[in-house]
Amino acid sequence: MEIFPALFSVITDPTLLFAIVLAAAVGMIVGATPGLTASAAIAMLLPITFYMPPLFALAFLYVIGKSGRYGGSVAAILFNTPGTAASAATQIDGYPLARAGKAGKAMKVATISSVIGDLMGDIMLVVGVGFIAAIALKLGPPETFAIYFAAFVVIGSVIGKSIVKGLASALLGILVAMVGLDPISSEERYTFGSFDLSNGIGLVPLMIGVFVLGEVFSQLEERKKAKGDIKENESDPTGHTLTYEEYKPCIPHAVRGGFIGAGIGVLPGLGSAIAAFISYGEGKRRAKNSEQWGKGALEGVAAPEAANNAVSGPSMAPLLTLGIPGSTIGAILLGVFLIHGIQVGPTLFLTDKELVYQLFACGMLGILAYGIIGYFGATQVARLILKVPVNVLYPLIFMTAFVASYSARGSMFDVTVMTIAGFVGWLMRKYDFNVAAFVISFVLAKGAEETFRQSLLMSDGGALIFVERPIAAAFLLLGLAAMGFRIRSILKERQVADGGLGDA
C-alpha cells in the first residue's frame, strides 16, 4: 500500500499539483483539437521537461497522455472527428447525440465514464503491477492472435444491419490493411510499384477521410435533397444537463469498459482504439436498448470512453517492468526515464519504488483534475460550438480534415488517402455498407496477421498451437461463442419477422 504515502506527498506539494492541473488542461485542449494528438504534444513538450525534476517531468507528460485520451471524445462528439484514434468508437453514438442537441449531455457522460475507466485502470495498476507484467510476458503471438480473433468476432458480428454488407465492409478493411510491406517476409504487397504505398495506408488519414469527409459529403447530399433548412444543432434546453437517472444505465457499461480497457492495456501494441471498439461491441450486445445504439445512446458513449481511458494505467506495467512501450506516449515516457538516468526494467521497483508510486498518485490526481475541468467546462464548449451556424461549421470541419490529415505525418500522400477515403466513406454510407466495420477490421487486420504468422512459424505451420495454449484457446472459444450467439439471435429475429409477415 505504498500508494497512500505517495498520494500524501503529492498532495502536499502545491507546485506539483499545479503542474498536474496544467497538464490536465493542456491534454484536454490538445486531444479535443482534430489533428493534434497527445503524443505529438508530448513530443513537443519533452524538451521543457529536461529542466524539471524527474517526477515533475513524468507526471506532467503522463497526465497529458491521460487527459488527451479523454479530450479526443470532445472532437468526436462535436465534430464527428476522432481527436485521437482512441475516440473513433465514441463518435458512433456521440455525434448523433450532438446533432440531437444533446452535446453537453454526451460530453458529461464521456467525462464521467473516462474518469471511471481511468481510475479503474490505475487502481488495477497499483494493486497488480507485478502480476500484470508477468501476464504480459506470458502472452506470446498465439495468445495475442486469439485476442485479435475474439475482437474481430465481437465487433464484426455486433455492428451492422445487413450481415452480408457488414462482412463485405470488414473484408474491404482487411484488404486495405494488407497494402504495404508484408510483416514477416518484408515483401511489397498491393503497392503497384508505388513508393508511397509501400509504407501502407495510414490509420489517421483513413479515419478522417471515412468519418469526417464522408460525413460532410453525406450531409451535403441530404441538404440538397431536403431543399430547405434542416433544423440541426438546435440546442435542446435540457440537452446539456445530466441527471443521475440518465447516467444510471451507463454505469454497468462504464465498469465493463473499465475492465475491458484494463485487460487490453496489459498487452503492449493493442492500444486504446481496439479497447474502445471491443467495449462498444460488448456493450451493444448486452444492452437492453441495443436498437438505440448508433443512433444516439448515452450508453454508447460511456462504454468506449471508459475503455479507452482504462488502457492508460495498465499499459504502464509492461513499460516499467519490461521496457516495452505499448504506445507512442509510452515510448516517450521511456525516454524521460532514460534522460533522468532511471533504468526501466524488472529492477525499477527496487531502485525507484517511491518515484513510481508517486507517479501513479499524480496520475490519479490528474484524472480527477480533467474530470472536474471537463464536467463543468464541456457544457460551455458545447454551447459555444452549437451556436456556430452549419454553413460555417461544415466548411470549417471540411478544412480541418485536410489540415489534420496532413499534419499527422506531414505527408501530402496522406491527404490523397484521406480524400479517397472520404469518397469511399460517402459511397459506403449511401449504399448502407458499414463504415465502422471497415475501419475496425482495418485496425485489427495488421496485428492479427503478424501474430498469426509468427505463431505458425513457431509451430512449423501447425494450427494446434492455438489450441494447446490454454489462454489462446480460451479467447478463441470466446470469439466462437460470440459468433454462435449472434447467429442464434439473427435466426430468432428472422423467425419473428417471418411470423409477423404471416399474420399480416
Binding site: A43, M44, L46, P47, F50, A136, L137, K138, L139, G140, P141, G180, L181, D182, P183, I184, S185, S186, E188, F195, D196, S198, N199, G200, P268, G269, P318, L322, G323, I324, P325, T328, G330, A331, I332, L334, G335, L338, I339, G341, Q343, V344, G345, P346, T347, R409, S411, E450, Q454, L457, M458, D460
Partner: protein, 319 residues
C-alpha cells in the same frame, strides 16, 4: 560511368542548393529537427536517438524530436526520409548495418550509400546470441548440439528479416551447419520481451539489450571477434572459437539527398560535440552502449567496406 553521373548530380544539386538555400542554411536550425528512427521505441538505435535528443540540449538551439517509423527491417522509415524535403529538419538515425543489408536483400530503389547524405556515426551496435534464463542451454555449444540433434526443431527470434541481427543469426547457423526456424518480431524491444517470455528457444538481439534484464536473459556470446567494450562480461564468438559472420552495425545519422552542405556540416559538428559530451556517454551506459563517433566521410567509407564484405555473404544467405 555511374560514378560520373553521381558526381554530376552532386554538383548540380550543390549548385542548386547554393543558389536557393544559402540564406536558409545560415539560419538553420530554426524549427525542431525530426530524427526518424525506423524501428520501434525501446530498441538499441532508439536508445541512441533518445540520448542524442537529450544531449543536444545546449548544443543545438532547437529540440531534436525522435519519430519512430518501424517496419520491414528499417526500410519503412528510410522510405519516408528519402522523400522528405531536404531542408535539414528531417533526418534519419538508423542501424547502418541493418539498413545496408536490407537495401541489398530487398527489392528497393534505395541505396544506402547513394540515396542519402551520411552526416556522422555516433555509435556501434553488436548482435548477440541470447537465451531465456530458464533455458537448458548454458553455452553456445549446447545450442549447436541441440540444433544438430534435432534439425529444424529450434525457434529463434530476431527483430525483422534483412536486419543485421537476422543476417548475423543466419551467419551463425550457416557457419555451424545447423538449421532453425526464425520468428521475426518488430524491433528490439518486442524481440527481447518474446525471448523473456520463452516464445523462442534463442534469439539474436543487441548485446546492450541485456542491461537491466540480467535476471531474465542469458547472453551466450556476442557476434564479434572481441568482446563489446561496455557489455564486457559477455564472451565473443571469436574467443570461443565458434565460426560466425562478422556483421555489426554502426549507428549513423543520414540526411535526405540534396540537403545543403552547410546544414550537413553544421549537424556533423553538432553530433561530434554531442558524442563527446559526458552526459551522452552516461545516458548510453544506462542502456549498455557507448559513443563511437566517426565523421560522415569515415562512416561512409566504413559502410562501403562493409558492403563489399557483405555482398558475397548476402548472396549466399539469400539463395
Amino acid at each position: 560511368m555511374k560514378r560520373r553521373t553521381f558526381i554530376g548530380s552532386m554538383a548540380a544539386s550543390a549548385a542548386l542548393a547554393a543558389s536557393t538555400t544559402a540564406t536558409f542554411a545560415a539560419e538553420w536550425p530554426r524549427r525542431p529537427i525530426n530524427l526518424v528512427v525506423p524501428y520501434k521505441a525501446g530498441g538499441g538505435t532508439d536508445a541512441y536517438a533518445r540520448a542524442i535528443s537529450a544531449a543536444a540540449e545546449g548544443i543545438l538551439d532547437v529540440p531534436v524530436v525522435v519519430v519512430n517509423k518501424p517496419g520491414s527491417g528499417g526500410l519503412n522509415g528510410a522510405n519516408s526520409v528519402v522523400g522528405a524535403r531536404p531542408d535539414g529538419y528531417t533526418m534519419m538515425m538508423t542501424s547502418g548495418g541493418s539498413f545496408l543489408l536490407s537495401t541489398m536483400t530487398r527489392d528497393t530503389d534505395i541505396d544506402a550509400l547513394e540515396s542519402f547524405e551520411v552526416v556522422a556515426q555516433v555509435g556501434q551496435l553488436r548482435t548477440s546470441l541470447m537465451v531465456p534464463k530458464n533455458s537448458p542451454y548454458q553455452s553456445v555449444q549446447d545450442v549447436i548440439d541441440a540444433a544438430k540433434a534435432n534439425p529444424g526443431s529450434l525457434r529463434w527470434a530476431h527483430s525483422g528479416r534483412g536486419g543485421f541481427h537476422h543476417v548475423g543469426g543466419l551467419g551463425f547457423l550457416a557457419n555451424n551447419g545447423i538449421e532453425a526456424q526464425d520468428v521475426p518480431f518488430k524491433g528490439g524491444g518486442p524481440t527481447r520481451a518474446a525471448l523473456i517470455g520463452e516464445q523462442a528457444d534463442f534469439g539474436f538481439l543487441g548485446v546492450q539489450q541485456l542491461r537491466g534484464f540480467e535476471e531474465q536473459l542469458r547472453a551466450l556470446a556476442v557476434n564479434s571477434a572481441d568482446r563489446d567494450t561496455i557489455m564486457s562480461d559477455v564472451p565473443a564468438f571469436g574467443e570461443l572459437g565458434v565460426p560466425f559472420a562478422a556483421v555489426s552495425s554502426p549507428v549513423i545519422v543520414f540526411a535526405p539527398k540534396g540537403t545543403p552542405a552547410e546544414v550537413i556540416s553544421a549537424m556533423e559538428a553538432a553530433l561530434a560535440e554531442i558524442a563527446a559530451k559526458p552526459q551522452f556517454a552516461e545516458l548510453l551506459a544506462e542502456r549498455g552502449t557507448g559513443p563511437v563517433y566517426a565523421s560522415g566521410t569515415d562512416a561512409k567509407a566504413g559502410l562501403a567496406a562493409m558492403k563489399a564484405d557483405a555482398a558475397p555473404l548476402v548472396q549466399s544467405l539469400t539463395n
